[in-house]
Symmetry: C2
Subunit: 345 residues, 2 copies
Amino acid sequence: MSAPFHPDEDGALVASATAGFARAHARHVELVEDPLHLLARRRDPRRRVGLVSGGGSGHEPLHAGFLGVGMLDAVAPGQVFASPHNRQVYAASRAAAGPDGVVHVVKNYTGDRINFAIAAERLRLDGIEVRRVLVDDDVATDSEETATGRRGTAATVVVEKLLGAAADRGAGLEELAGLGQAVAAASRSLAVASRAQTAGAGGGPAFELAADELEYGVGIHGERAATTIPRPPRTELLRRMLDDLLAALPPSRDGDGGVLLVVNGLGGTTSLELYSLFDEVTALLGAAGAPVHGSLVGTYVAALDMAGFSLTLTRLEPGWSELWQAPADTPSLTRLPVDDPEVTP
Amino acid sequence: MSAPFHPDEDGALVASATAGFARAHARHVELVEDPLHLLARRRDPRRRVGLVSGGGSGHEPLHAGFLGVGMLDAVAPGQVFASPHNRQVYAASRAAAGPDGVVHVVKNYTGDRINFAIAAERLRLDGIEVRRVLVDDDVATDSEETATGRRGTAATVVVEKLLGAAADRGAGLEELAGLGQAVAAASRSLAVASRAQTAGAGGGPAFELAADELEYGVGIHGERAATTIPRPPRTELLRRMLDDLLAALPPSRDGDGGVLLVVNGLGGTTSLELYSLFDEVTALLGAAGAPVHGSLVGTYVAALDMAGFSLTLTRLEPGWSELWQAPADTPSLTRLPVDDPEVTP
């Protein structure tokens, strides 16, 4: 993979970007170069379990943008679209473990599963308890014919936010693992693209689409979808996506049917467009009996510079809204306490 | 202008994006639909002057992303790449005026200058004091032959941050206008692109570049540069840009030569690439005797989905670093107070 403004040497992109990120966010983040990982500088003193994630680069701000109070304690970044080495996950987890152990938040890709599993095995040999939360939200890959299961995409941000808030309230290892898996199970995503990410020395798109085509169900590494569709009018497209998502979403156990909504840009889609989509999607969900109780709009889980967006829905259970709104202080997601005595309303 | 996921009707994009933005950031922002403007919901009680900005859409998060405590009080968004109407600026300013009046932060484009000037005239007739801070940082347009002067680009964020902090300390109208103009005068930017923004029904780029070409000195509305250059190795490109910027930057009056650095994506450039650029630019600036004392890295002033980036340098004067670090609570720029008793280091 190569693009206009990369460093000239192979492999230098992730190393220099990680160093630049740590430098720019020195208040939040500490860099460890070998094996490469990033640590949050601060944590809530009530936290008993370290939260660790990681995966291939190219999806920023996932995961390093969510290091800090209220979210993650450590992150292991791989090369672009490649799993981190298990040595990185192990070192990140050793450094971040709390007295009750570590939870690994893992997107469902084979390489990530393997490397996090090897690291977990080593951590257990060291006497550190580990639980894994596997995020597998992408309905485009929801088929009984694939042994690998659904891919993990933007629901990861929801899982990391809710788990972080619960960890800051002192939740234990089993409670966190159970919550994380419940949030993942209650979440579904779907992505469409109008232009693939830039790839190759020539700087062209990784795959070709005609101007009037959309890739419906694209993956965050540029995996082609099962279907390339003629571009429908926007409202028709959104209705189709929401129909597919709501049909796949498990019913609420104890909630009122409300959802969290993430309108996520894949890297090359403007903020203007994402907020406009959010406006219409919110209205459509309200009409469908799934009112939006919390949201994120922006580029949170990118596929490099792909032009497109994904929608993620999480069906809320009691208490999850409070976790969603809880304070967070990370480079890419901040929630201040709502009552700030310094400032008048 | 048209792109894949826009609403089907002309003109609906900005209206729905603004409505979506206000809905997503209801804690920070209040929407007024006619004439269209956005107001910050909260302000520091010490603030005596309202800070108002605005301009064409397509540059998000500028300006609405900076509404809130520590930055702007009101914003008037125009259509894509088009100035807001003076009625919008007038209404935004009326609503945001403090007891000492209003400061307008205006990027140097003819339409913006005219519409803010008409609004200022009307405000003065109402008895509201107005001062204008004109931001004109783009060295690509620094020529004695153009009567319009340098274009205003990403230094606007620096001006809005420093003015917001000063306003929160109770600075008066003349002090703020003087500070804003001094910050603008101490700031220069330069932008390069490898692919123009998407335009036209076909979804192609607004202008053509070969795979081995860069537009050196591109504008944030896709204005072509004076020079299209063969793509140099990255370090050579960065040295050339910094040479041009440092040559144009006024010397420090009382500072130590240190700078604020904004590495700004133009919309279609990945976070990975921006942080990697930041890492190298910071090192080059240190070697050039212009150490970086504060920074922003990300998409802050976009040109829709243009692939490229800009560098902005502001030569620091005494006290400006403190204003840069001062607390802010806006949708797109947050600074928490550094000492947070809730959390252990």
